[in-house]
Symmetry: C2
């Protein structure tokens, strides 16, 4: 009778009975406790195998207070940058034996970040990575010390939380110096949205490089990372006199700029040189292939997990690290000597 009924999942006690030991011994085998006779161990292992037992991680989390789950809060994971970073985070976390729970925000405002953090904290995550490159998000984070360890990616000034980021200033500098070294009088800039720290950093690097070379910095054109905004900036630039070099704050906008120039009959790189930022997979096949600054998103992801795990598993109180990943210059065909 009742054989048709789905047999319920075996629990530790079932394994114990099958192997003729106590449930605690089963637990010890599972947790690789040293003091278990090897013969006992194999007997337990066989019982586990026979019954198809799988340990209930929820029950385990209840008593250990560790869920082995990490939370990730990110902004629009459709964009290449965030997507790649989250991907790197996920890979690194899984390699370390952690699950990853994701909250992807449509827009980043104070309450949005706060809710996401609460939401994840409720779930009992052991730590949180916040991929929140906007100033508002970064500030929220500073106030908001939840019970769990936090690492910010691109999170601005290291306040109360550890930060892992790419050196945006250096990237902006690299791009600008490259253009200056080709003999351009000055370099125009299509910047990202003012709320974004990354945008700020690139502007700062651009300004610094110009200042160092004793050149005046033209007014930067505002964009929002989208190809369309780049396109519009490109139309403006095409209509202006004396523009021979442009540093665009990301590759997508650079694509828009290239498109606008092409429409207006402005030849790249013959008349104007263009440098992008990110090195998305498409950049190499733009017309012309885009010279750009590469961000190692994978390294960012890996490092953020490393810092976070150190905070979670390490015993000593951490010193709120700030880990900076260097960008690199990628030469292609969109820039030329003046």
């Amino acid at each position: 009778m009742g054989s048709s009924q789905a047999r319920r999942m075996p629990v530790m006690a079932d394994v114990a009975r099958e192997a003729g030991v106590s449930h605690q011994t089963v637990s010890r085998v599972l947790n690789e406790h040293p003091n278990v006779r090897s013969e006992t161990r194999t007997r337990v292992l066989e019982a586990i195998d026979k019954l198809g037992y799988r340990r209930n991680l929820v029950a385990r989390a209840l008593v250990t207070k560790h869920s082995r789950t990490l939370g990730v809060v990110s902004f629009d994971t459709t964009l290449y940058g965030p997507a790649s970073t989250v991907y790197g985070i996920e890979q690194a976390a899984r390699a370390a034996g952690y699950f990853v729970s994701i909250v992807s925000l449509k827009s980043i405002d104070r309450t949005g970040v706060r809710d996401a953090l609460d939401y994840l904290a409720d779930q009992g995550v052991d730590g949180i990575v916040v991929v929140a490159p906007q100033r508002s998000a970064a500030q929220t984070l500073a106030d908001l010390a939840p019970g769990v360890p936090i690492v910010a990616v691109e999170g601005g000034e290291a306040g109360d939380v550890s930060v892992v980021c790419v050196d945006q200033v250096e990237g902006g500098r690299l791009a600008t110096e490259h253009l200056l070294s080709l003999g351009h009088e000055t370099v125009w800039h299509v910047r990202g949205p003012s709320d974004w720290l990354e945008a700020e950093g690139r502007v700062a690097g651009w300004r610094a490089a110009l200042a160092q070379a004793g050149r005046a910095a033209p007014e930067p054109l505002a964009g929002d990372w989208s190809p369309r905004s780049g396109y519009e900036a490109g139309r403006s630039l095409a209509s202006m006199a004396g523009v021979s070099a442009v540093f665009v704050a990301n590759d997508q906008m650079a694509l828009g700029v290239l498109r606008a120039f092409s429409e207006q009959g402005v030849k790249v790189p013959d008349q104007v040189s263009v440098v992008g930022f990110d090195d998305i997979p498409e950049s190499e096949f733009f017309s012309p292939p885009l010279t750009t600054i590469r961000q190692d998103f994978d390294a960012v992801g890996r490092n953020s997990i490393e810092v976070l795990l150190q905070q979670i598993e390490g015993e000593e109180q951490r010193a709120c690290e700030r880990l900076v990943v260097p960008p690199s210059f990628v030469a292609r065909a969109s820039t030329a000597r003046v």
Copy 2:
């Protein structure tokens, strides 16, 4: 003394004591049980507020057997398609009050998918969405009925699992018919990797449209979704005589094709018309702007969650649905009358 010690998180019993009720009453308030006197309810709510109590979801999951967490298995979330789908899934899941745990596979092989599924099942997810457009993954899924409800996205033939997908065949047909309607004698095709069901579907649609028009189908060129592979296919096509229309299986490869044509002096759309697939945000700003087939990834994500939740929460045994999202044609400037 001991005030410096971090006060431990309050639990239900603490709230109960504070409010002068039993822990069960607190539980009832939290779970919105109807039979609680409203005065009692406010007293409990005040106690919760005062103590800053937050319900322990792990303990709750242990007894209810529901974690309110959904698992997502995906292949390379760096690609636009998977990234957008996962984004849609995450949004829909959160709206429904579920957490999302992600496993992003580097490569999809049988063991990879199996491990991911086990991994998620161990964690106690209530259901799993598998974004696995490869044939091998889809087949693995069929064998592998774990204890939890599963929905496959782009999962091929609806076998034992429900499937949500975009009508790839229809997409291929739309692209091809558009080109034929412009007066092109035949349409060449740069296809995706043969292991991918999406690639197969697009090939099938392309073939069907050609057959219906009574045209011979040239041998398709093989690509791997990357711009580079499109570039190589483009070089081949540029060197061939009689190529006037090309349907490329995704926008990234189409970019490579456009690049190759541009290098070889082949004018698009004057000499050759090109149609892509996906409608990534960049496509509108390619040179020339790319005519393409749009996939509504957001709808796919939403639908997959809907189907999954129906399986989880609905009482009646589901009939292994197959939900097809139609693609749409987006006209731009990369195609022209012959």
